[in-house]
């Protein structure tokens, strides 16, 4: 059973007792370390993570991905997740990219690339 030692607790606590968010963060970090010098695919990035800490989690991912030389591909349908990503991307301008996958009129998947500025404009004006 994974245990967590915390500055705020005298004894180690089970990871499970700390909530889904911490477990999810733990999984992402362990996966990043395992993917050293490679790639990591994260589906539905926001799962289990409270909206208010999405940006902090993204900052951790940017930081560790750079340090461990991992290219991360993440998917999401969550606006909060995208807003968190935008906040972290703004601090690591050369390390991020954002694409929307969509179907064109004939039903074929197409890719639309966003600049940081356009993503920020879309979030600020609620056009998405």
């Amino acid at each position: 059973m994974p245990l967590v030692s915390s500055r705020n607790a005298s004894e180690p606590l089970p990871l499970k007792s700390m909530g889904d968010g911490i477990t999810r963060l733990f999984h992402i970090i362990v996966a990043l370390v395992s993917a050293k010098d490679g790639i990591l695919l994260i589906d539905e990035f926001e799962n289990g993570i409270h909206w208010s800490v999405q940006e902090a989690v993204w900052k951790t991912v940017f930081h560790l991905a750079e340090r461990l030389n991992v290219q991360v591909f993440a998917t999401t349908h969550s606006r909060d997740c995208i807003a968190g990503f935008e906040g972290a991307w703004a601090e690591h301008r050369d390390a991020g990219a954002f694409f929307r996958l969509q179907l064109d009129a004939s039903g074929l998947p197409t890719i639309k690339a966003y600049s940081l500025e356009t993503l920020a404009d879309s979030l600020e004006t609620d056009v998405e």
Partner: protein
């Protein structure tokens, strides 16, 4: 529920700064019997109007036509035009070096939305919506109004 005429999105949309801009344009459309082929969207500020235009261009199904009406102030006409040019510099549009006096209309190079720009009051001088409105008023009307207000027997004299 009544229709919010100043927050209409759709296939053809005119982005404006605030509710005054929206209502002046609505009144002009009514006066000149302009058919209702587009919606007006009040963005809250000039910067947000420019940002919304940029964001709409990126949509999965962008509007066919997007117009922008903002004041030629903060700081001036040249400054506003420069901020529009820099916002759309990476998009497939060739904006002229200065705004076109009759309003700038630009077709996309990639089949995307047609864009229109109007900088109040007339695309040629610094100013704002209020200058545009003032220019529509006949000088004699101003004189009549002043006479009414300064005439002590007028029912409007209490306003001065």
């Amino acid at each position: 529920m009544s229709i919010d005429w100043c927050h209409q999105d759709g296939d053809a949309v005119l982005l404006v700064e605030g509710s005054n801009d929206c209502h002046v344009i609505l009144a002009l459309c009514q006066l000149h019997s302009i058919p209702q082929t587009f919606g007006i969207y009040e963005c809250g500020s000039d910067d947000r109007a420019i940002k919304r235009m940029n964001a709409l261009l990126q949509k999965e199904n962008p509007p066919r036509v997007i117009g922008l009406v903002i004041d030629a102030d903060r700081p001036d006409l040249a400054g506003r035009w420069t901020s529009i040019q820099s916002k759309f510099s990476k998009q497939p549009y060739d904006l002229p070096p200065i705004p076109i006096p009759d309003g700038t209309i630009i077709e996309a190079k990639d089949g995307g939305p047609r864009l229109g720009f109007w900088l109040m009051p007339n695309n040629q001088v610094d100013g704002m919506l209020e200058d545009f409105c003032r220019d529509m008023i006949d000088a004699s009307a101003v004189e009549n109004c002043r006479a009414m207000l300064t005439d002590s027997t007028s029912e409007w004299s209490y306003l001065v």
